[in-house]
Symmetry: none
Subunit: 524 residues, 2 copies
């Protein structure tokens, strides 16, 4: 078995663009515990007050599978052991296990820490034994070990031996600058596991794009603890992605990690990955191995029938094992089924053979041919179905619209007018905006609000433009994608035209129509 | 030496969300040629008319380093060799080298192709010799080889031998489902290179997060051709990322690829990566090894002074070697140098310490802060420098402009007027277009043509819109990127605004101004 040590909350949070609130950290801890990692590195108590608070708060939760650890460096060379703030913050965090980091490299000792070998050894030994005297088990992160091993093997191994003499419960070999090659990691790890007793772990960075491979090679060489982060979050190019390391060990090498033999646990992997993206507020990488949205997306050319018979011919693992799904581009057959499923979701009963299903499917395909991407524009797709199923309600109709953008004397003004028929009454409104699309939205809202005051709750949360055929310069066709929210749910629409304002207007209209169908209880 | 075979334009374009226009494909071909890859797989001529057109168009360009190849499958079992559309489309493409794909796996032959061993062997042999009889050299992509080797070694090797007997110029081992482990790839590749003479290549997918490692292990086992894509674009989780494979081979294993010994070529890697992202219109992955924006981003905690002394302690390679930059925030000096280099390129002599250099640098930084990406918008950058260096000529000045877009009775009309001062004369013109930006361009041209008839030669070849801050819905800031051509050269501009039409107008103006500076001999 290999133990999984997750450092998403500490080193993952050091990644660029990534930050977690205290509540996020607690939520992720609970998910990681449920998933079954062995250790959760909760934070670096001496580095910021949020982390200190985290350790106080997390004590209130009874974790079932995981041990929460606190991270810190070995004592600073200028401090006496008792007065070292980093070590004392760990003691204050009241954890059972702490992880202490110190370079295991002569070069770093001399050039960065500027200490001699004896001071270095004392620093490691004293820090570990100090925490142990306070009842805390210590995992020793041997920073820059692989580089140190390359530069001065005996020195690097010497530091590990000191840590073992101090009775560190595990010694973790770090590829801190992320530049090692798998064969180098294998050789150095093998040397350690052959010469030093007890648990050895590995901690890799992805600067060479090899963090997963390096981690796997360390395990093959005898490492029995793996450090990494969910989605590979971490400094620079990130840490070893546990979403890739765990299934590789479990499914390809037959090594138990979080499953402890119960393979069902692995099925939470995709959900865990998406959850952590969501809380980090960065878009999920759709191309991510195992857990990405496109990881099992098969192209149109493959006949669905053939694929279903010989699926193992095209997939390296069964997506269900990691909680992901196969996505096959819509074919005539699967298309009908998906249309029916969509209708059922909306609360409408309909049979697969009905002509209105074929008609809806035909329109969907025609639109996709023109550049619509309905897959990600659920609200536009829903409105198309409602029209074909006779459930569409004309809450309003835009009869004409106009936008004027004018630039003069360094100033740019955008205004939009819209004539809308609502409940037999014609509304004619005009608004100014930061740009023409913003003005369109404001004018449309103004027209709708008399009869539908609930549209005030709707806000626009995302707006994207793609050019579909860029071969014709400014005469290109564009696709506009708009996302909406009413505070409770969110939905997205798409519009396509050679005129960006026409495409935007259509996507805006769809967004409000969808919202009204929902608000009036026509769809779920 | 290891040869680099780029399939960004074929397999990369099969990646989800990735599509290239014909003009994009030509532009990328030229960049790849300049960078120095050995082969550029331009497309799959039998799969779509765009690719067929590409092969016609690309013949007009004299490439210096690369050979353009066409991709296709071996003949279909139902076709006679002379009537096979895939093979004949390759012949029509008039390439010197073609790549033919066929499974080298008994399982796939029996279950997917449903053919016996003899038919399989004939299919491979006949297809290769047919193309060779038409004067085309053939690279044989042994699809599913690593899986086939695992399931039935003799059968898989047998197919390779047939390809060699057919005189394929290279045999490429494919990990088509992307699920192999590096050690497996090493063993199977070693077996091939030990048993089969001639050039052996490798083609890996990233489904297990191991494409780079697998590629490197195949090279260590003797492969001398590497297939991959820029940025790892490709189906599902993508192909081996050449932006990671190339520097790993060059910098860590000392194996020459595109550098052919001139290490300076590698410095174009980061620029190439960003350029391909820009044309694919997907955001660059900032965490990407070697070329990502954060790949050498050091956190604030590290003292800059300490870092500069012991930089090798924290970086696995020097970022300059791959054309990337260390970001502790750009140093004043490196910025100045690049401004001076740019001025020299334009034919203007200037010293690094001059205040106008600092001022230009300041403006560049301010604009980049606002969301301009000047790296890929060479023409806009040039105009900024010309202004600071006192070489800018006001060929025309837009005094006011207006666009009106109106939708009524299912019809949408866009028109734009523009008041331009040229040579003391005020031109006031109006034009209709397919959309508001198209109308802007037509009106601007109409105003310029009297004094500058040469603008007739200018055409717009690309237009893209990105939303920079998506958090504010339709009030977002957008970046517009426009590419121009005059038949001899091409240039690109960028405009940024909350108003898409203002951003577009500015990018259009820059495009014509740059052209006129060039046409009048003010810059090279």
């Amino acid at each position: 078995m290999v133990k999984i040590y997750d450092t998403t909350l500490r080193e993952g949070a050091q990644g660029r663009n990534i930050s977690f609130t205290l509540q996020d950290k607690i939520n992720i801890t609970l998910k990681l515990d449920e998933f079954g990692v062995h250790y959760i590195e909760g934070g670096w108590p001496s580095s910021n007050p949020k982390d200190l608070e985290y350790f106080k708060r997390i004590r209130d939760y009874a974790l079932r599978n995981s041990v929460v650890t606190a991270f810190g460096s070995t004592k600073h060379k200028g401090n006496s052991i008792h007065s070292d703030p980093s070590l004392n913050a760990i003691i204050d965090a009241e954890v059972e296990v702490a992880t202490l980091v110190c370079p295991a490299s002569k070069f770093h000792a001399e050039k960065v820490l500027k200490i001699d070998a004896q001071t270095h050894a004392d620093m490691v030994y004293d820090s570990i034994t100090y925490l142990k005297a306070h009842g805390i088990d210590v995992i020793f992160d041997a920073e820059h070990f692989y580089l140190g091993y390359k530069l001065d093997r005996e020195y690097a191994l010497g530091i590990l031996k000191v840590a073992r003499e101090g009775r560190a419960m595990a010694i973790v070999l770090c590829d801190t600058n992320g530049g090692s090659l798998p064969q180098e990691v294998y050789d150095a790890t093998k040397c350690v596991t052959s010469n030093i007793r007890g648990e050895v772990g590995v901690h890799c960075h992805n600067d060479g794009g090899l963090a997963v491979a390096n981690t796997v090679f360390a395990v093959i060489a005898g490492a029995s603890q793996v450090q990494g982060t969910i989605n590979g979050f971490g400094e620079r190019c990130g840490n070893a992605d546990l979403c890739q390391v765990i299934p590789t060990l479990e499914l390809k090498l037959g090594i138990r990690t979080i499953s402890r033999g119960d393979m069902y646990k692995l099925r939470h992997l995709t959900r865990l990955s998406r959850y952590v993206y969501e809380l980090a507020n960065i878009p999920a990488n759709p191309y991510q191995p195992y857990v990405g949205e496109y990881a099992f997306a098969h192209k149109a050319g493959i006949h669905v029938d053939a694929l279903s018979k010989t699926v193992e011919a095209y997939e390296h693992v069964d997506p269900a094992l990691v909680g992901n799904v196969r996505s096959i581009t819509v074919s005539e057959l699967s298309g009908r089924t998906s249309i029916v499923m969509k209708a059922n979701e909306l609360g409408i009963e309909v049979g697969e053979d009905e002509p209105r299903i074929s008609n809806a499917l035909k329109e969907v395909k025609d639109l996709e041919c023109k550049g619509y991407q309905l897959e990600n524009a659920n609200a536009t797709l829903t409105l198309i179905l409602l029209k074909h199923l006779g459930k569409f309600e004309k809450f309003f109709e835009v009869q004409s619209w106009k936008t004027v953008t004018e630039g003069k004397d360094q100033e740019v003004v955008a205004e939009s007018s819209v004539k809308v028929k609502v409940n037999g009454e014609t509304m004619y409104e005009i608004a100014e905006g930061l740009g023409p699309v913003h003005a369109q939205d404001l004018a449309l809202r103004k027209s709708l609000v008399k009869y539908y005051p609930e549209v005030k709750k709707v806000s626009l949360t995302n707006y994207k433009v793609s050019v579909i055929d860029t071969g014709f310069g400014t005469a290109s066709t564009v696709r506009v994608y708009v996302e909406f929210s009413d505070g409770k749910g969110s939905w997205a629409t798409v519009g396509v035209s050679t005129n960006i304002l026409e495409a935007s207007k259509n996507a805006l209209i769809d967004g409000y129509l969808y919202f009204l169908h929902k608000a009036k209880g026509i769809i779920r």
